[in-house]
């Protein structure tokens, strides 16, 4: 097993919330990647296998194999591209069956199927101390993750398109209206004017565009294709309004969501009732929900 983190994990005090944080425990034989300064602070024996050529803000990335069990601070590749490379290289070079990536708060891009094969969505009292709000927020992310896949016959030709906007005609032809993205009001107007009802957005699906499309008379006829759920930057209200009006949305790459985990304890020490939280969450989501403070193996 190889492990890394896109944020900083395992430090005694969280740098964002200034509250205490659990340690990262590395088992003997595990491969791990962290920056040099944290590597040298660890108190167990490990063999350095690789040092990244390039420097990051925190120093050079070290990949090592644990020769003993121990704890350390984990801070690995933080951008999507180097994370992709990390997964590829680590599984190619070392006897590793699975690469685990610890995510970071509100960062969905490492969970894109373009990077990682599967994901576990984690949430908890840190997000909100109100169960209703917490469930609704999780439900929204869950719904975007579970958006259906783009039909097979149209998926293939769209796969290699990573820029601009595309229109798909009635007879399945892909046309390029020549718009770079749909972010500014001008660009959104262009999309409304020139694109038909079936639109592929390889980049960011902005709240503005989704809102504008929802306000259209024939919103019910619209079918939106996005690259994957992590490209949807829309507010829950807009997202649901679009779907309520009959609009459809699908993603090119559909992630494999394994489970949802909740932590009932907030960094400030506030604790939700575990059973109530899990059961509410379970009712709202059609997937296994675990309380990470109370996992029975």
């Amino acid at each position: 097993m190889a492990i890394t983190s896109v944020g900083i994990d395992g430090e005694a005090i969280d740098r964002v919330t200034a509250t205490s944080k659990p340690e990262v425990l590395i088992e003997k034989g595990m491969y791990f990647t962290t920056v040099g300064s944290f590597y040298l602070q660890k108190r167990f024996t490990a063999e350095i296998c690789h040092v990244e050529k390039s420097q990051t803000v925190l120093g050079k990335m070290i990949t090592a194999r644990a020769l003993e069990r121990g704890t350390l601070v984990l801070a690995g590749p933080s951008d999507t591209l180097s994370l992709q490379r990390w997964i590829h290289n680590t599984s190619a070079k070392y006897p590793v069956d699975i690469c685990l990536v610890d995510g970071a708060v509100s960062r969905l891009s490492p969970a894109s199927p373009a990077v990682t094969e599967s994901m576990v969505l984690t949430t908890g009292a840190a997000f909100s101390a109100n169960i209703k709000t917490l469930v609704a927020g999780t439900r929204f992310v869950y719904d975007t993750i579970q958006l259906p896949a783009v039909p097979e016959e149209i998926r293939k030709p769209l796969e290699n398109i990573t820029k601009g906007i595309r229109t798909i005609t009635e007879d399945g032809q892909i046309e390029d209206p020549g718009i770079d993205s749909a972010l500014t009001p001008d660009q959104i107007r262009q999309v409304l004017d020139t694109c038909g009802n079936r639109i592929y957005i390889p980049g960011v699906l902005s709240n503005g565009l989704l809102k504008a499309l929802t306000e259209r008379k024939e919103a019910g006829k619209i079918c939106l294709y996005v690259r994957d759920f992590s490209r949807i930057f829309a507010e829950p209200a807009t997202f649901y309004a679009f779907l309520r009006k009959g609009g459809r949305m699908a993603q090119l790459l559909r992630p494999n969501l394994l489970a949802v985990c909740v932590n009932p304890v907030s960094p400030e020490g506030y604790c939700l009732r575990s059973e109530e939280l899990v059961s509410h969450m379970q009712d709202a989501l059609n997937i296994s929900v675990y309380d990470i403070k109370n996992i029975k193996t």
Binding site: G36, Y39, L40, R43, T45, E47, I48, V51, K53, K60
Partner: protein, 465 residues
């Protein structure tokens, strides 16, 4: 004087540096630091190495090994900091020790590949002893940790840690791990001391890898542009020289660069020719070839005999002068003054000046030009000076660009394709007058007929007077 300094002054040098396939900024910095060399014996040695690299590149069976080498160059880490720490006899940390082990194993790979292409003279030294120190368990891999076998007391300290439960006995666990850290430190100290004795060979290998890469890149460049080894000789004589940057631009517009031959003796030589006849290109290419020779490159020509000089000066009024807030005349005069000052101090230079004093009145301009020629004559400075000024009262040797072969051209021609009608060859010219083809070329460029006629009338009027 470094390559970087020259690249700022001489057009096309940077372009060629950019065409070189180098693995990263570390090696590029190295290239930029290459000194300008005027020692024939050093240059000949360099050319021998480059010749060898060129032959290696020309053999197709070497291609797989060369490709592996190119890849291997990209895996070299910048261990400048670690080497500096060794030099200062500091205690290295675990990561730095890993870097040295990795570097030693890379050197072994480099040696293997150098052997395959028969280039051992430029291979890094063998670092097996360094590798062995950092591989006491003889794993043979580049992985590294503070091996138990380095010290019995380290092994014992580690056992003590394993026997302690950090959760139940945190105090004694802390003490035990502190001891491990201490023991690790003494091992690192001993290792660092041993390694620092090897500092020079490590540093030299690190530099040698950059040198090796640059030799191979220079050879690849020579193959790409059909460059030849220059001969160091007392008289400059170049046959079929080409300017790689301009040739590349021409290829893009489906044109070709007409190779030019030139011989220059001590003392000044004038270069005349019509507008657009490529006088500036001749000057720039000569400066480029001279610089390439003295930075141990092959040169873009069929043959090249090059005398060595202390410095090359190319004065073509460029836009940089305006940024400094100088008029083009002022910038040029000050540049020439600086150069003449250096010449007076008695060194061999190569001076190339594009149309001196062209931005002032022809009456004084001619006088300035003649004075410059007289100066170059007095100090026997190898120099080529282009001009449009004619009827100079001087016996200086003159080269003329053959120029426009107008009989081939009909009607109006596209300014970018005028080179099809130009003969860029240089010929000896005994006449005192200069080519007068400005109006003809303006006409062919499609400049308004009535305007040209008016100019011709003025010409006639002046001639009558």
């Amino acid at each position: 004087m470094t390559f970087a300094r020259f690249a700022q002054r001489i057009d096309g040098l940077n372009y060629l540096a950019e065409q070189m396939e180098l693995s990263g900024s570390r090696v590029r910095r190295y290239l930029m630091q290459i000194p300008f060399c005027d020692k024939a014996e050093v240059l000949e040695k360099h050319f021998d190495i480059l010749q060898k690299a060129y032959e290696i590149h020309s053999l197709p069976e070497n291609e797989p090994a060369l490709m592996q080498l190119r890849h291997l160059f990209t895996t070299v880490h910048d261990i400048k900091g670690t080497l500096e720490a060794l030099k200062q006899k500091q205690v290295l940390d675990e990561i730095e020790l890993f870097e040295l082990k990795y570097f030693a194993s890379l050197c072994r790979d480099f040696r293997l590949l150098c052997k395959r292409i028969d280039f051992m003279s430029q291979a890094p030294m063998c670092l097996q002893h360094v590798f062995d120190w950092l591989d006491p368990d003889k794993t043979g891999t580049s992985g590294f940790y503070m091996y138990d076998s380095y010290s019995p007391s380290l092994a014992q300290a580690r056992k003590a840690v394993l026997a302690t439960d950090p959760e139940k006995e945190p105090e004694s666990w802390n003490r035990a791990t502190d001891l491990v850290q201490q023991e690790e430190w003494s091992v690192r100290k001993t290792l660092s001391e041993e390694l620092s004795k090897r500092y020079e060979v490590l540093q030299n290998n690190f530099d040698q890898l950059a040198r090796l890469e640059i030799w191979l890149a220079k050879a690849a460049l020579a193959v790409k542009y059909g460059m030849v080894r220059p001969q160091v000789a007392p008289v400059l004589s170049i046959e079929g020289m080409v300017n790689p940057m301009i040739a590349d631009i021409l290829v893009k517009s489906k044109g070709t660069f007409q190779p030019v031959s030139v011989t220059l003796h001590q003392g000044p030589c004038l270069l005349t020719g019509a507008n657009m006849s490529g006088k500036t290109v001749v000057l720039k290419t000569l400066a480029l070839i001279q610089a390439l020779t003295q930075f141990s490159f092959f040169v873009p020509a069929r043959t090249a005999q090059i005398p060595l000089v202390k410095d090359v000066f190319l004065v073509v009024g460029d836009k940089q002068d305006y940024y400094k807030g100088l008029s083009s005349f002022a910038a040029e005069m000050l540049a020439l003054d600086r150069i003449m000052d250096k010449i007076k101090k008695g060194n061999r230079f190569f001076v190339l000046v594009d149309e001196p004093a062209r931005t002032t009145n022809p009456y004084e301009g001619t006088a300035i030009l003649c004075a410059l020629l007289a100066f170059m004559e007095q100090y026997r400075v190898m120099s080529l000076i282009s001009t449009h000024y004619g009827e100079l009262n001087t016996a200086v040797r003159k080269l003329r660009v053959v120029g426009f072969e107008g009989e081939k051209a009909v009607g109006r021609i596209d300014p970018t394709s005028i080179n099809q009608y130009m003969n860029y060859s240089l010929v000896e010219d005994k006449r005192t007058s200069v080519p007068k083809e400005a109006l003809q070329i303006a006409r062919l460029l499609g400049v308004d007929d009535s305007f040209i006629k008016r100019a011709q009338e003025f010409l006639k009027k002046n001639n009558h007077e």
